[in-house]
């Protein structure tokens, strides 16, 4: 284990491990570009699939955690009556790209503590023709006050500024980011639910329509509608039900890290990675695949650095050394990631977790990473002003890992 240096904020602690609780029943409600259905419909479809996948009855679900932006004016409580579920544990996690990791952490502890036996974790959102534009101006007070009036480029403009800065500081090139995007597209071609079903060439990536310098079209995710979900239950219960499951080796979560950095080139993982690997008892080199939160390729590079796969600023060099495909070196985003599978609102915060569970329970829809035993799923999100505030990660393993 590398020494990451000491910081009073760096997580140490000795939180209880997760050996008695597991993740099972990974489900996806296939993505569509636009839907006339509400977010409620996608939550309902996800819950229905969870029951079918697990063989449980609705009455067996006694905990519900929902991540969604588009339920308004409802929150998770409205869904209990809407869907006719009676639960004793309820959570609403509208944290975008971090909602999967956060929901997971809370659900694990609830089951571990006996507050609930089976928690359905669902990330779901719909996408109407104009809903993305409308959501931009109401995303946060700071966005409304200090971002939206400046060109209204939404996250594209914000990440253009971060990407431009990263490229200048660390020598990354458009070709570097392109390599990640092209590799993820290759991965997506093996995943039936991916929104993009055509191969992407580096030339197409480089020559795509400019969006906000240096970002072009294929640096940007496609907003769509869809849902992801999984169940959290005790290992005992999963085994009794005969459900394949993935174990959770460790997790971390951090909000508003490094507020004094003038611009974001690192996330909260820097504070938490020592704890993350320490609690899991593994090294970065033990990880077989990584599901980054890839809202823009620059974020994948920052996560690779911050989670210890290389030093800060070595990202470009790291990219040039690896293929990132499922069957190559350093597989990332094995179902295509958001860049190729699509970004279904808060479901995007679940995409990597659900894909990881599939990889580690041999229930692959996408191409399997050969011999994968440990996966790292990353959460990142909520760019309320100039940077993403939430960061989180989970190391998952096979049942026997």
């Amino acid at each position: 284990m590398r020494n990451f240096g000491k910081d009073p904020l760096v997580a140490s602690g000795d939180a209880r491990d997760y050996r008695d609780v597991v993740l099972t029943a990974p489900v996806t409600v296939p993505y569509v570009r636009y839907s006339i259905r509400s977010a409620h419909w996608f939550v309902a479809r996800a819950l229905s699939r969870l029951l079918k996948e697990s063989g449980l009855e609705k009455s067996d679900i006694d905990g519900l955690s929902v991540g969604s932006f588009m339920l308004s004016p409802d929150t998770a409580i409205g869904l209990t009556q809407h869907l006719g579920v009676t639960v004793r544990w309820l959570d609403h996690v509208p944290l975008g790209g971090a909602c999967g990791i956060v929901a997971l952490r809370r659900a694990l502890r609830a089951v571990q503590a006996g507050d609930a036996q089976v928690v359905a974790c669902i990330g779901a959102d719909t996408n109407h023709v104009d809903s993305f534009r409308q959501s931009l101006g109401s995303f946060s007070v700071f966005a409304r006050d200090a971002v939206f009036p400046y060109g209204s480029g939404g996250p594209n403009a914000s990440f253009a500024l971060l990407t431009s800065y990263y490229m200048r500081m660390y020598g990354a090139t458009r070709e570097d980011f392109g390599k990640i995007c092209v590799a993820q597209r290759d991965n997506a071609l093996g995943y039936p639910h991916a929104m993009f079903k055509k191969k992407l060439t580096l030339e197409e990536y480089l020559e795509a329509r400019p969006i906000a310098d240096p970002i072009r079209l294929f640096d940007c995710v496609m907003p769509c509608a869809g849902a992801e979900g999984f169940l959290v239950m005790t290992r005992q219960r999963a085994e009794a039900l005969g459900l394949p499951y993935a174990r959770v080796r460790s997790t971390c979560e951090r909000h508003n890290a490094f507020p004094d950095d003038p611009i974001q080139v690192r996330g909260g993982w820097v504070l938490d990675r020592e704890h993350l690997y320490g609690a899991a008892g593994v090294e970065p080199s033990d990880i077989d695949f990584v599901e980054t939160y890839d809202d823009y390729p620059v974020m994948s590079v920052i996560q690779i650095e911050d989670l210890g796969f290389c030093q800060k600023g070595e990202g470009p060099e790291f990219i040039r050394r690896h293929t990132f495909t499922s069957d190559g070196s350093f597989p990332i985003n094995t179902s295509g990631g958001q860049l190729s599978a699509g970004q279904a609102g808060c479901a995007a915060g679940f995409l990597g977790l659900v894909e990881s569970i599939r990889q580690l329970t041999d229930r692959n829809l996408a191409r399997a990473v050969p011999g994968a035993r440990l996966g790292l799923a990353v959460g990142f999100g909520m760019i309320t002003y100039d940077r993403g505030l939430c960061s989180g990660a989970a190391i998952l393993g096979r049942a026997d890992a």
């Binding site: 534009r133 006050d145 200090a146 971002v147 939206f148 480029g153 400019p210 310098d213 100039d386």
Partner: protein, 414 residues
């Protein structure tokens, strides 16, 4: 390099006039502090009275010590442009029509990192810049990063011009050219590059000094315009209303009476008829057409300027009825401002102290010369601010009024 603005071609009459759109307008109450300062041409940020931290974006509590004693304080705006981008695609209709649009992240020397519109004269990051506030087309305060050193054609930057009301190549109506102030304004507009200046004059049989010199300017067209006559205003609006880019209402009646020094209401009524109802008549007749032309090409309709008085803020009893009429006009101008906002047309209020004219004969100096007033007015157009208080007396009154209007009332009534 910024390409200099060229005189626009004549409008093609078979093409539809582009309708005005506004950039996003919604703001939190805290953020409106930025707008309030921008309206005066100041760049202010919240500074914590307890720990001194500078905050941005605006907040309800200090992000360091949680104090709620956040005070808006003027900033130098100096900072480092740490990243810049050019946006080619926007989700907003206003910006869709205006991309490419430059943005930057600026680390202010005062602490915070701000997202700012980026003037074309700024080099790519990294470089030193100076952040200022401007009012955008929606009338809200925004941040704009300028190059440290003046570059040529600075005012012609297209992004900046969306936030200013520069008279260059624009057509202007000055409603009263009889007065020294009106004539000085006309001269200043011509010097600032106005394309055409219509100059109104009422009661043409009265001979006014200086009008002949104004009329001799090639840019000037004299028009009979009497703000007390609804039909006259309607007539002139019908003739030129669809072409006026900037309207400057310099017409006023100023008599020097309080309540007791003059029996009857005829003088007060005459003041109200021009100072208040005149503005109302103009607003009804010229407002809608100007509002509809807020995005009509390079030289769109852009501003409406009211010559008010510092006495609009607090009554000056020796000029009591005049003060009241200007207070009424100020109130109406706020209504006009709200109604013109949808067209992106700025309403600028000018609050001079005593002007050096016959009706302030008995007031001691300092008094504001017509040329100085005109200069301040044209600068307000170029800066795109909303309220100006030209001259020492106005500045002093305004400072006293800001500090405590009741104290000013007592001071003035002494």
């Amino acid at each position: 390099m910024i390409a200099p603005l060229h005189r626009p071609k004549r409008k093609n009459p078979i093409l539809r006039t582009r309708l005005p759109l506004l950039p996003p307008w919604a703001r939190s109450r805290a953020a409106l502090g930025l707008t309030a300062a921008a309206a005066l041409g100041r760049f202010e940020l919240q500074v914590c009275a307890h720990c001194g931290s500078v905050q941005y974006p605006p907040r309800e509590a200090c992000h360091r010590c949680l104090s709620d004693q956040l005070q808006w304080r003027e900033q130098s705006g100096a900072g480092e442009l740490i990243s810049s981008t050019t946006v080619y695609h926007s989700h907003d209709l206003f910006f869709r029509e205006r991309v490419p649009w430059r943005l930057g992240l600026v680390r202010l020397d005062a602490g915070p990192t701000v997202i700012a519109h980026l003037h074309a004269g700024c080099a790519p990051a990294p470089c030193r810049v100076r952040v200022e506030t401007r009012l955008d087309k929606s009338g809200q305060g925004v941040l704009l990063a300028f190059p440290i050193d003046e570059v040529s054609n600075m005012a012609d930057d297209l992004q900046l011009r969306e936030m200013t009301c520069d008279p260059k190549f624009r057509k202007v109506l000055v409603t009263d050219g009889k007065t020294a102030v009106g004539q000085a304004v006309v001269q200043a507009l011509v010097a600032a590059g106005a394309d055409l200046v219509w100059v109104g004059y009422a009661e043409p049989w009265k001979k006014f000094p200086g009008l002949a010199q104004i009329e001799a300017l090639p840019q000037v067209t004299l028009i009979p315009l009497d703000l007390t006559d609804s039909r006259s205003v309607t007539q002139i609006a019908a003739e030129i209303g669809g072409r006026v880019d900037i309207l400057i209402n310099t017409a006023e009646v100023h008599r020097t009476h309080g309540i007791a020094s003059r029996s009857g209401v005829e003088v007060a009524r005459a003041e109200m008829d021009v100072n208040y109802f005149g503005l109302l008549r103009l607003a009804q007749e010229f407002g809608p057409a100007m509002r509809g032309r807020g995005a009509d090409g390079q030289s769109s309709a852009t501003a409406w300027v009211n010559l008010l008085s510092i006495y609009a803020l607090n009554n000056y009893p020796p000029h009591g009825t005049f003060s009241a009429s200007k207070a009424a006009a100020l109130s109406l101008s706020q209504c006009l401002r709200a109604e013109m906002r949808s067209g992106g047309v700025r309403v600028i209020n000018v609050f001079p102290g005593p002007i050096d004219d016959e009706w302030n004969q008995m007031l001691p100096p300092p008094k504001l010369g017509p040329d100085a007033l005109a200069k301040a007015l044209v600068k307000a157009l170029k800066d795109g601010v909303e309220d100006i208080y030209p001259g020492d007396v106005a500045q002093e009154w305004f400072a006293r009024w800001r500090e405590d209007p009741k104290i000013l009332e007592r001071e003035v009534s002494a």
